[in-house]
């Protein structure tokens, strides 16, 4: 069993130090890379928290939609080519895609969901 604090907690406190202590003390031209680091850490924290649930959900949605089994890569490739061929442009496709996209935004930039 791993010792506490968890990886997510470590990232969390490390990010606080970066943001509160280091970034304000940096010269202007180093602030942007530091902000990028803070952003990368936040994305990783949200990914750790979400685990693999998003991918499992995506696989289920796509599998139901396409009435096919297979890896997520395979399902996405199948859906992509059907869309390109004009064989998948109904409402149910749009709704499925939107659900998956919103889930990904929840990890990459959750603030965007409220814009």
């Amino acid at each position: 069993m791993r010792d506490q604090p968890s990886g997510k907690d470590l990232l969390d406190i490390a990010r606080d130090v970066l943001r509160d202590d280091l970034i304000p003390a940096l010269p202007d031209d180093k602030r942007y890379p530091a902000l990028m680091i803070a952003n990368a850490m936040a994305i990783v924290m949200r990914q750790i928290e979400a685990g693999e649930e998003g991918s499992i959900e995506e696989q289920k949605i796509l599998s139901d939609l396409l009435r096919e089994d297979g890896s997520l890569e395979h399902l996405n490739a199948t859906l992509a080519s059907r869309i390109r061929e004009g064989r998948a442009d109904g409402v149910e496709i749009w709704q499925a895609l939107r659900g998956v996209a919103a889930g990904k935004v929840g990890e990459s930039n959750p603030r965007y969901l409220n814009v």
Binding site: D29, Y32, P33, M36, I37, N39, A40, I43, E73, N76, A77, L79, A80, S81, I83, R84, G86, D89, G90, V91, I93, W94, Q95, L97, R98, V100, A101, A102, K104, V105, E107, S108, N109, Y112, L113, V115
Partner: protein
């Protein structure tokens, strides 16, 4: 090999002395921030002889260590700047092009240094910029006054008969080169295919005319930068790119690039161009803008993931894709949803 200030100072001093036949002093060489594709160096030059005798505040522009294949060479960019300058576009005045790689190890050109700020997140927070949207419209009209064929811009190739269908085919080709499929971007491309307006006109388009790629000084446009993606296209492509939500830097209520109102931008453009902007078609090109940025972001991410160019900035660009995809879907909701 990386360039440094000493190499530039020495190389440029010799090169300009030779070209002007007199004493030249180069000073204050320092690298400017930004530019994944190009490097920009600020420097000052004092020349004793020739047509440019006197002191000049310049920028040296050259390829970065890794350049992308789809962007123009420095020679082409220099030609674009000259053509734009002659057409009345506010650009940094181009000075001299050096194609001889022996001078600095890469090709470069010099242009006048312009004051102001370009950073999108700063411009989107400024309040005293009421004339800026109109100025951006007016300048875009000047860019669009350049039409094919154009002797000095032959490197741009043949103008497409239908810029939107050409763009759709190109982005599908780019997606096919990636390792993973992108159903949402495909959805966007399919929507574009079935909703394409008739082509309006083909003119010189900047193709990266957005906040972040121009300079503002004292509230006014001081230079249009970053010409490396310019090409023949539908003028509405540039208008859609500037107004697209993905380039507003969070200032969503200022629909013209996060800096002003859409109608002020349109009014500046229409007055200077004599064209009337087809509002419905702009929507199409705004969807195209999100699709294009999503495709480019996927390509940039792939450059990092493949190990071709390890970079935190490229890596983070991958995580912009989901919000672009969400926006593509929001803009293309089927009527019966």
């Amino acid at each position: 090999m990386g360039l440094d200030a000493a190499t530039i100072t020495d190389g440029l001093t010799d090169y300009l002395s030779e070209r002007t036949g007199g004493e030249v002093a180069v000073s204050g060489v320092h690298k400017l921030s930004g530019g994944a594709i190009q490097e920009n160096w600020a420097l000052d030059v004092v020349m004793q002889q020739g047509d440019w005798a006197g002191e000049h505040h310049l920028v040296l522009r050259c390829d970065a260590a890794s350049a992308v294949a789809t962007s123009h060479s420095r020679a082409d960019e220099f030609a674009l700047l000259k053509a734009a300058h002659d057409a009345g576009v506010i650009v940094p005045m181009p000075c001299i092009l050096c194609d001889d790689e022996r001078v600095l190890g890469r090709r470069f050109f010099l242009m006048h240094r312009v004051g102001g700020i370009a950073a999108g997140h700063k411009l989107a927070r400024l309040t005293d910029i009421s004339g800026l949207a109109g100025e951006l419209g007016e300048n875009l009209a000047h860019i669009h006054s350049l039409k094919p064929p154009h002797e000095d811009l032959a490197f741009l190739g043949e103008p497409p008969d239908n810029p939107s269908t050409a763009a759709i085919a190109m982005y599908r080709g780019y997606l096919d080169e990636l390792d993973v499929a992108h159903p949402v971007i495909e959805w966007g491309l399919r929507w574009l295919e079935t909703n394409a307006p008739a082509p309006s006109d083909v003119v010189l388009c900047h193709r990266d005319y957005r906040t972040g790629n121009y300079m503002v000084e004292d509230g006014h446009l001081s230079a249009v930068l970053d010409w490396e993606f310019a090409g023949w296209s539908d003028p509405l492509e540039d208008i859609g790119w500037l107004c697209a939500k993905c380039w507003r830097f969070g200032a969503n209520d200022r629909e013209a690039g996060g800096i002003g109102s859409r109608e002020d931008f349109y009014a500046g453009y229409e007055a200077a161009s004599g064209r009337t902007i087809d509002r419905d078609s702009v929507y199409f090109w705004e969807v195209m803008a999100h699709v294009r940025w999503a495709v480019i972001a996927c390509q940039q991410a792939a450059r990092h993931v493949s190990g071709e160019e390890r970079s935190l900035e490229l890596a983070l660009t991958a995580h912009v894709v989901p919000e672009l995809e969400l926006e593509i879907l929001n803009m293309t909701e089927p009527l019966n949803a």
